[in-house]
């Protein structure tokens, strides 16, 4: 009797899992035409001549580049040097030393001839106390704010936004390697459209690539399979989901690694939330909410070109703690903004983007993990229909591979990265192999992250960082 009931539960569960898989993959496929049209239009809109607009303007608007830095002694000097070489002249760089316990501040002082200097500014956003302000004698556009550690990147970013004098603020991670034209590319939509409140950029992974003097000089796939899996994950996330969201003005995540915001709007929404775990998504959704609630014409843009490059964790421990944190951040944002989900007042974000994320990102890992566990149990109890199991594995791998290859195709069109024949073979292998273990581990980490979010446990985690020179 029990067995009959167990079998019928298994049958129903199988149908749910299969339907979920098919639905998820079809959703990915459905995004592709939207993302492709957006990409195509973007390529034709931001031509090389269009990008030269910045040079043709008598006085381009001042952009403040804000670099929150906490224990970044290995990369900070190279990062700042690279920022100083950005091709957008009208910019200032505000580095916020967020109570580093290593020699980040000393490195900055030594490299850029910093001296204590007075700097007057209003502080509309609350932050931990500022200990001192330094300005560079060699680089007039460089300001360093030394503050007490706020235990969040949000606090440091807010301190930078307070001190910024630009009309727009570019928030970048201290270890983000920017393309020389990243700022002028991102600033261009601001010059064109007064309704624009923020622009996000495509973020690529530096692992495996050669970096010289803070610039990417050769792009290649890394040796680590974990990093390779993350590369295709980033492609899917940035070139499928975010492009599709951008096409309908529904961007809900601007990566913390690179985001350009209109300063006055960020201040109007209260800046970064210092209690938010996923502060970048939290801010972007609040911007959406703020503008949509006020029925104010606005736009949040996205540039599909790789504007910034960031290090991906290559060891399991760092990756795991990153994924736990991302998961807690996602759930926190969804809980806080639950009133937006399915609410027509918030337009495409309320009716389409957030429900999609709820079903496929919030619930996805739980369903996937329970699917795996039940399959294992069924196999252990001898209840598994092996023929059906093989079929399902095949469907899962093939659909997963197809959606990853679609992202690779869009990435090729937008960026032409990893173009060697060997890279293509590796990318195909990665898109197949990620379905055989990596996705399942990720889902498991998602479940643990969910548990942490419910119980209120878990910290920021530590990622093993390397200096840029040791990238390859």
């Amino acid at each position: 009797m029990l067995t009959t009931e167990a079998l019928s539960v298994l049958s129903i569960f199988s149908i749910v899992v299969v339907s979920y898989f098919v639905l998820w993959n079809l959703a990915q496929m459905a995004m592709s035409p939207v993302a492709s049209v957006f990409l195509w239009r973007h390529e034709r809109r931001y031509t090389r001549r269009a990008r030269a607009l910045v040079d043709r303007l008598a006085a381009p608007p001042l952009v403040s580049v804000i670099v929150p830095a906490c224990n970044e002694e290995l990369t900070i000097a190279e990062s700042i040097r690279a920022l100083l070489e950005l091709d957008y002249e009208s910019r200032e760089i505000v580095v916020v030393n967020d109570g580093s316990t290593d020699s980040t501040l000393n490195v900055l002082q030594r490299t850029f001839q910093l001296v204590p200097a007075p700097l007057a500014y209003l502080q509309p956003l609350p932050t931990e106390p500022v200990r001192g302000v330094y300005r560079s004698l060699s680089e007039p556009g460089l300001i360093v704010i030394d503050k007490v550690n706020g235990r969040s990147k949000a606090d440091a970013s807010n301190a930078g936004i307070n001190a910024a004098s630009g009309v727009a603020v570019l928030i970048v991670d201290a270890d983000t390697v920017l393309e020389p034209d990243a700022l002028s590319r991102a600033a261009l939509p601001f010059l064109e459209d007064p309704k624009l409140v923020a622009v996000g950029g495509n973020i690529a992974i530096t692992n495996g690539s050669r970096i010289e003097h803070g610039r990417i000089t050769d792009v290649a796939l890394p040796r680590s399979w974990l990093a390779r899996f993350q590369i295709v994950e980033y492609m899917r996330s940035f070139l499928l989901f975010r492009l599709a969201c951008a096409a309908v003005n529904g961007v809900v995540i601007i990566s913390g690694a690179f985001g350009l915001f209109r300063r006055e709007t960020v201040i109007a929404v209260g800046g970064y939330d210092r209690t938010a775990i996923g502060e970048d998504m939290d801010l972007t959704i609040r911007l959406q909410r703020y503008c949509r609630t006020r029925r104010r014409p606005f736009r949040i843009g996205f540039d599909p070109h790789p504007l910034g490059w960031t290090q991906a964790p290559e060891d399991r421990q760092s990756l795991r703690s990153q994924r736990y944190r991302w998961r807690r951040g996602l759930l926190q944002v969804f809980w806080r903004q639950r009133g937006m989900i399915g609410n027509p007042r918030y337009g495409v974000v309320g009716l389409l983007v957030l429900p999609y994320m709820l079903v496929f990102e919030v619930l996805g890992p739980l369903l996937e993990t329970s699917g795996c566990i039940i399959t294992l149990l069924a196999a252990a109890l001898g209840l598994l229909n092996w023929k059906y199991f093989e079929l399902m594995i095949g469907v899962s791998v093939l659909f997963g591979t197809a959606s990853t290859l679609l992202a690779v195709l869009l990435s090729d069109i937008a960026t032409h990265r990893y173009m060697r024949g060997r890279d293509l073979m590796l990318l195909v292998a990665v898109s197949i192999l990620e379905n055989c273990g990596y996705r399942q581990i990720n889902s498991w980490w998602g479940c643990v992250g969910t548990l942490q979010a419910i119980t209120g446990k878990g910290g920021w985690g530590v990622m093993k960082r390397r200096s840029f020179e040791s990238e390859r």
């Binding site: 149908i15 034709r44 010059l191 229909n385 093939l398 659909f399 197809a402 195709l409």
Partner: protein, 354 residues
């Protein structure tokens, strides 16, 4: 125990999904391979064409007629690619000699009729490409066609037309640009760039239009920030009495660009007491560098404790007014409040510049 039961329909559905997935994955893989092959082919072809035609292009640009003839004789299928090699560098290199020689070569290659044909294309991106190319080449015979493109149905073609007129710098197009200053469908930055390209040539048009179109005075004041000179000052002085605060603020910003005379300075000092902080801030900004007989220092010093944007502009204006302004800042710098820190900052920046 037996395996769990699944309906035949469901298993059939899963099988169909399997084959659908297989076809989808194969299609995607083929698409990736095809895209990469096309891209690779284009790279190789362009490199070959560069290797073959760049020496001719270089020599033709130096005035070698034999090289120009060699370019003219190139197979028709390569002409557009060679045109791209010739024209693209003009985006960054606006050397008039190079532009004129490129135009000569392009004319000799009979590419202007091709561009004219593309201007009439039904595909908007082709029209945009042709417009941009003609602008970069400063093909003034096509100015009228480019001006007409400012009314194209596609906004990106209109944007390309504005870019082209910026590059063209044909005075005949100036009135068309000025008239479209209010056209919000044209990108804001591009409108500013187009006006900046003509410099003070745009000023008379702006002043004439502003006389008959006071509703859009804000835009004219903003435009005069880019190209205004002393000629615009009397009009700007009149506009400082405009009832709209944003117009008054923009007017003072324009006066900061044109420079002040005694009358304008007196108006700026008067408006330092305006009820709107934006007007006070821009009035303070206009006074930056003022060294006439009317002493603005005491009036500006009072505003170091004003709202933040006004205080910043006042402090910067004081710094620019020589010893008397600096003395006010030094006096204020002993204070520990925000105004004191601001004064210290301005004095520090002055010393650092020295």
């Amino acid at each position: 125990m037996s395996e769990y039961y699944l309906s035949v329909e469901f298993v059939n559905f899963a099988s169909r999904m399997f084959w659908f997935g297989a076809i989808l994955a194969a299609t995607m893989l083929s698409a990736v391979i095809l895209e990469r092959s096309v891209y690779g082919y284009q790279l190789i072809r362009n490199q070959r064409l560069k290797d073959r035609y760049f020496p001719y292009i270089r020599r033709a640009l130096d005035g070698d007629q034999t090289a120009t003839r060699a370019l003219v004789k190139c197979p028709p299928r390569y002409r557009l690619i060679i045109a791209e090699f010739l024209i693209t560098p003009l985006i960054d290199d606006r050397d008039p000699v190079r532009i004129a020689r490129t135009l000569e070569i392009v004319r000799a290659m009979a590419l202007i009729p091709t561009a004219e044909r593309l201007l009439r294309s039904r595909l908007w991106w082709r029209r945009a490409v042709a417009i941009r190319a003609l602008g970069l080449l400063q093909a003034r015979k096509q100015t009228a066609a480019i001006i007409a493109a400012l009314d194209d149905l596609n906004p990106l073609v209109r944007a390309a037309a504005l870019d082209a007129l910026t590059d063209l710098r044909d005075p005949a197009s100036l009135s068309a640009i000025v008239v479209r200053l209010q056209d919000a469908s044209l990108h804001r930055g591009r409108r500013a760039a187009a006006l900046s390209a003509f410099g003070k040539q745009g000023e008379p048009f702006l002043l004439d239009l502003a006389e008959i179109d006071s509703d859009h005075r804000l835009n004219y004041a903003r435009a005069l920030m880019l190209c205004g000179t002393a000629i615009a000052r009397p009009a700007l002085c009149r506009w400082t009495r405009d009832p709209r605060p944003n117009v008054r603020a923009a007017t003072f910003e324009a006066l900061a660009h044109t420079g002040l005379d005694e009358q304008a300075a007196a108006l700026a000092i008067e408006c330092l007491e305006s009820a709107e902080s934006s007007v006070r801030a821009m009035a303070a900004r206009a006074l930056r560098g003022w060294s006439g007989s009317v002493n603005a220092v005491p009036n500006l010093a009072k505003h170091l404790d004003d709202e933040w944007p006004v205080a910043v502009q006042a402090a910067r204006a004081l710094e620019s007014m020589g010893e008397s302004g600096l003395a006010e800042l030094r006096g204020c710098s002993s204070r520990s409040d925000l105004a004191g820190i601001l004064a210290k900052q301005i004095l520090w920046e002055g010393r650092a510049r020295c």
